[in-house]
């Protein structure tokens, strides 16, 4: 299986095609609903002035996200007696909720990949072509297994959003994903949707 280390170059991104299984290694950042809304409103559309540590976090995120990956995940996290965080369960959450924000976040921060489940829509697919970037599909439900590929929690931003919504900076090793949207406009979700529709139409015509 293909192994890819983050940060990821444009050449590597362009070489990825839908349907390809990949193992990811390196540093990535989790982010879901609250994080995406916050990034868009505060730094991209600027409809809300930065508050508290916003500006400082922004500068650090710019460095972390450049060439890296955002993971749609609301983890279960434990803190041990030394104050170190540990991921206990960390499966992907449904990505389509970030559809209004994702393409803009990718372009603004030069995010090369988005990990989640269920795939995303036309706007994100276009964002993947322009950035360029890809959508990586993780294995829904494989929470314990994925938590094991998180080797270290390097830090956390915006913990005030709550544990699942905070932005966790994590170091992963051999995180298993499949490319389901690529930088060339290919979407595995669209392909399977239409091929299964064809079979369904045929089955519906068959006598009982």
């Amino acid at each position: 299986m293909r192994e890819i280390t983050m940060p990821i170059s444009d050449d590597v991104i362009r070489s990825l095609k839908v349907g390809e299984p990949v193992l990811l290694t390196g540093v990535m950042v989790t982010g879901r609903d609250a994080a995406h809304k916050w990034m868009i409103e505060t730094f991209i559309k600027k409809t809300r002035p930065p508050q508290g540590d916003d500006e400082k976090v922004y500068q650090e995120l710019k460095k972390l996200l450049n060439g890296s990956v955002i993971y749609h995940c609301g983890p279960v996290v434990a803190k041990d007696e030394n104050g170190e965080y540990k991921f206990l369960a960390a499966g992907p959450t449904t990505s389509i909720r970030e559809e209004p924000y994702q393409a803009d976040v990718m372009k603004h921060f030069n995010v090369k990949g988005v990990i989640g489940k269920g795939g995303m829509g036309a706007k994100t697919l276009k964002g993947c072509q322009e950035t360029p970037g890809v959508y990586f599909h993780a294995i829904g439900g494989a929470a314990s297994f994925i938590a094991q590929s998180v080797k270290k929690v390097l830090g956390v931003y915006k913990l005030e959003f709550g544990t699942p919504e905070a932005m966790w900076v994590i170091e992963v090793k051999d995180f298993p994903v499949v490319v389901t949207m690529d930088a060339h406009g290919g979407s595995q979700h669209a392909v399977i949707d239409s091929s299964s529709q064809e079979v369904l139409d045929k089955l519906l015509r068959e006598p009982y």
Binding site: G91, H137, G141, L200, L204, Y208
Partner: protein, 291 residues
């Protein structure tokens, strides 16, 4: 009456972290059907490793520990009210122990209660009285949100699909539900289908059939045949594990028939994800047995 709170906590632990053997066996058999190196095979292999890890570490198989749905058969003379209190107490305690994620969110005020106790409906508990010489049985199913979101209810006739009010029509809408679900319900899934009833009973029964083991067929040979046919035809759709494309989309189908009004003909399809978590405890006197 004996206090069973600790025994029920153990039931919750087992349900959340230890997938039943019949489900695991089916998933393992599905691995071999996918081409080596394919995305579908990779997904199933990861699922198998996840199942083993969760069992070993007593951690939730999936971080979405779902809607807890209990079914209780209690012998005449037991108090359903006290059993309900014990189940609710056990649920709060199991959440503290991280066997369950806090999953009860007040829909109006958007607030998570933090302990998996909502109103009377959360956790959902169904009581059924049995004869005094029968054991007490408590069954638990955890129904994930992602797969719940892809469930569907049809009112027949359905013109677009050409589905009339008969088993041929049931087959058509059920296949449509599988196609529309794609991989979103964390395929491979299990279908629970109920025919008839009103909108409410129809959905409830479509989940209740999921308490039965994989491979259990309806006693009616016509329905049994349709169950097998639907599993087979769903797999022809080629949606595959996680919607990556592949041989296995559905690992079993269960159908039940209800009474209906002359005016209505509902078909409800409940989709259960691969994390098909259900367990049972049987209490005879001092003895507690888990399945």
């Amino acid at each position: 009456m004996k206090d069973l709170t600790n025994e029920i906590i153990e039931l919750i632990r087992r349900t959340s972290s230890n997938l039943p053997k019949d489900v695991e066996d089916r998933l393992r058999a599905a691995v071999e059907k996918e081409a080596p190196g394919s995305a579908a095979r990779g997904a199933l292999e990861t699922i198998m490793k996840n199942i083993e890890l969760s069992r070993k570490n007593s951690t939730p198989i999936c971080q979405d520990t779902g809607t807890p749905i209990f079914r209780v058969h209690y012998p005449e003379g037991w108090s359903a009210r006290k059993l309900r209190e014990q189940i609710r107490g056990a649920m709060a305690e199991a959440t503290k122990k991280n066997f369950m994620r806090p999953n009860a969110v007040d829909a109006v005020y958007d607030k998570n209660t933090g302990n998996n106790l909502g109103g009377d409906d959360f956790p959902s508990i169904h009581f059924e009285e049995v004869d005094a010489d029968q054991p007490l049985t408590i069954e638990l199913m955890l129904k994930g949100g992602g797969c719940e979101n892809v469930g569907r209810q049809y009112s027949l006739p359905h013109n677009e699909l050409g589905a009339g009010r008969d088993l041929a029509g049931v087959r058509k809408v059920a296949l449509d539900a599988v196609q529309k679900a794609q991989g979103q319900g964390c395929a491979p899934g299990i279908l629970g289908i109920s025919i008839g009833g009103d909108r409410g009973t129809s959905y409830i029964k479509s989940k209740e059939v999921l308490y039965d083991k994989i491979g259990t067929r309806n006693a009616d040979p016509e329905l049994a045949k349709l169950e097998e046919r639907l599993t087979e035809e769903s797999n022809q759709l080629g949606i595959g594990p996680m919607g990556f494309g592949g041989q296995t989309t559905v690992i079993d189908t269960k159908i039940t028939g209800l009474s209906r009004l002359p005016a209505s003909y509902f078909v409800s399809v409940s989709y259960m994800c691969w994390a098909y978590r259900r367990r049972k405890m049987v209490v005879r006197g001092e003895e507690v047995e888990y399945d």
